[in-house]
Amino acid sequence: MTTEWLVRFLLGGFVISLFASAGDILRPKSFAGVFAAAPALALATLAVTISGQGWHYAATEARSMIVGAAAFVFYAWATSRLLRDGTRRASVVATLGLGLWLIAALAGWFLLTAVA
């Protein structure tokens, strides 16, 4: 069990760093931004989940991930709008904006569970 969490930590750290480094070297900036929303966390998690908990568990996670990703679209759009005039600090907007992601994701999740 401990090994599984260690594998998750190392794999997650590696894959997320890899995609982030791709974003560092790509130009223009907006194109590099695509890699800021890469499926790094999902790849690291699903690779372990499919082999550990099985495909049914992974498919259920993926269905909910669609909702989480829709919330990410909203979060990235809001962050971009709030930063573009250059008056607000990126660290503050992007960090506080995570609350927006959570609210949007939870709203979507309630809808999903009501429909399913």
Partner: protein, 145 residues
Amino acid sequence: MKISLNLAGLKRAKWYEYALRFVLGGAVTVVTGLIAHKFGPVFGGLFLAFPSIFPFGVTLIEKHETEKKRKAGYDDPATGRKAAALEARGAIAGAAGLMAFALVVWLALPGYKRVVLAAASLAWLSVSLFLWWLEKKHFLVKRTA
């Protein structure tokens, strides 16, 4: 606008920024797994699309761009913030691609277990690049001068 590689971008980040990214990425992956473990895959799956290191990434961009301007003799924090806004705009396309990624995994399992993650990654890349290209060509947003 042409897509290019700028390897100097790797040198701009400090070693501890790379270390922080790795630790943060690993920690978020573990926490995501713990959430699914505790509350089940329906709730836990939401967090597979958590913007894990996005805030850290845009903060670094703001910092590096501001430093670059300062070295050139300008003290203008707005430049770094606008660069971060551009990164966030690109992330909209990437996040839409994440929806395609998840959809492929959901629909392809269990039949294509061996290739599902590769196929889903390809779906992410295709959808993200297509949307990014559409936005660049002004098909999605009409800009004012």
